[in-house]
Symmetry: C2
């Protein structure tokens, strides 16, 4: 769809022929689940949009369509209120668009869920002197707390967990690493705006050793003996930190099996994580 | 905030005193990160809202506030376009509200990420005759494919992975279970509308054995020998399915260490998942 005129598809409909000519329909693409998706791209006045939407829904209902998706870029915020007034609800939003949905049949709404989890990583990086790479953060929860912590960060949409861990270590400390294993993960709820959170503790092998800390977020970064890290007061007072620290310590002694990352199909960008000591594909 | 009048806070401001009396400010709550959150609840005309929003932003700027969050329930869809016009972008949406954000300082936007991942589970349930609980689905990807698969489902926002696995098995087959371990997980991307997906393979122990299948989604449900499950043509042709099936088979012989679920603090609703064979807290 490249302009308001091409966005109007004068296709099959149950409306009288003269009405079709007057109104037209919104351009929609069928999805795999018996629904349709309208990807609005060009500016449109709501007085033109609303009759198009109504005629389109009438046709989709006749065709037995189920879910209707309307993607409105933020530039078309003028169409949000009219779409809601026609019975749509919000599904999800990103910075630059809002997705609205409407379930046509009388059956229960079978539309898929919105993303529910924020995913983060913590990186356990130890050199061959049994020193771990730790940072103190300038902002956020640990601001002002005198706690050495692993480099941490958010896994971006579309990013592999193992890749995100390498990226965060490099960004915060300048150290190059290789991904080894996921040692543990934690699920928490209502962390931010009601969303849930998955935090993966990743073990990485350092490939370089000279620290160049990131100035904007990191107050200090250095290698410290693993026992000094584990025995910090903060870790002793916070059970999930204590467990994670002790799991890392157990791993450092070679007696812990975490999950390795394997790509089952060479072509696809999917990683499967499993206990690679106990199962060799 | 319970009405338009109480939503107007005539607080500290740099505007002239007479102007404050005329305009007022939006009611906002400070967040932990130097920002403010406006939770709009009552209907408001955009001609009243826009001057309030402008005066509020002016004050927040003077106060050195950073991120501004405006939560608009879907009933207030009329305020979406005016908010966007004042420089806000979308952050995220749920069925019944849209969250907009604006970063006031000149520094780079440090607002937290939107949820990026949909989380799912697959349930490996084996009885003491080495039979696994499997289903055929009526709809979706496996519709029409003659494949026995584990019960699967989406982990809801706020729901623990181990709880979701028990719930899905009960819903689809009527079987009661106890959570044992996570055997593996898979991360995939662009599964739905560009979001990423984390799928956890959970081992559960059956506590009941008589199947009552759910009619709306499930075509068939039964116990079949584990080797019959593993050796299905579909699993042999799809590497990630093959690996998962073989991991489950390895586990069924007692020689595989998955991740157990432990609550580090008795009061908190957080689960830590780790190799419970190799690390005993």
């Amino acid at each position: 769809m490249s302009s308001p005129s091409t966005s109007v598809l004068k296709g099959k409909t149950v409306l009288p022929a003269d009405k079709i000519q007057q109104i037209g329909l919104l351009y929609a693409v069928n999805d795999k689940y018996g629904g349709v998706m309208v990807d609005m791209k060009e500016p449109m006045d709501s007085h033109i949009y609303v009759p198009l939407l109504r005629a389109s829904i009438s046709q989709w209902r006749q065709q037995g369509k189920k879910g209707v998706w309307i993607k409105l870029p933020i530039q078309l915020a003028n169409l949000v209120e009219p779409t809601v007034k026609e019975g749509f609800r919000y599904h999800h939003a990103e910075s630059d668009y809002l997705m609205l949905v409407h379930w046509i049949p009388d059956s229960p709404d079978a539309l898929p869920a919105n993303a529910s989890h924020i995913v983060g990583i913590g990186a356990f990086v130890m050199n061959n002197k049994r020193e771990v790479l730790v940072v103190k953060e300038k902002h956020g929860y640990f601001e002002g707390k005198d706690v050495w912590k692993f480099p941490t960060g958010v896994v971006n949409q579309g990013e592999d967990i193992c890749t995100a861990a390498i990226r965060e270590v490099k960004e915060e400390t300048g150290i190059d690493t290789e991904f080894m294993e996921i040692l543990a993960f934690r699920q928490t709820h209502k962390q931010f705006l009601g969303k849930s959170d998955l935090f993966f503790v990743c073990m990485l092998r350092p490939l370089s050793f000279d620290i160049t800390k990131q100035d904007s977020e990191i107050k200090a970064a250095q290698w410290i003996p693993i026992d000094e890290y584990v025995n910090q007061t903060y870790n002793r007072e916070h059970k999930s930190f204590e467990y994670i620290a002790r799991i890392c310590s157990t791993k450092s002694q070679g007696s812990y099996g975490g999950f390795s990352a394997v790509r089952p199909s060479s072509g696809k960008q999917n990683y499967l994580y499993f206990n690679g000591q106990d199962f060799k594909p």
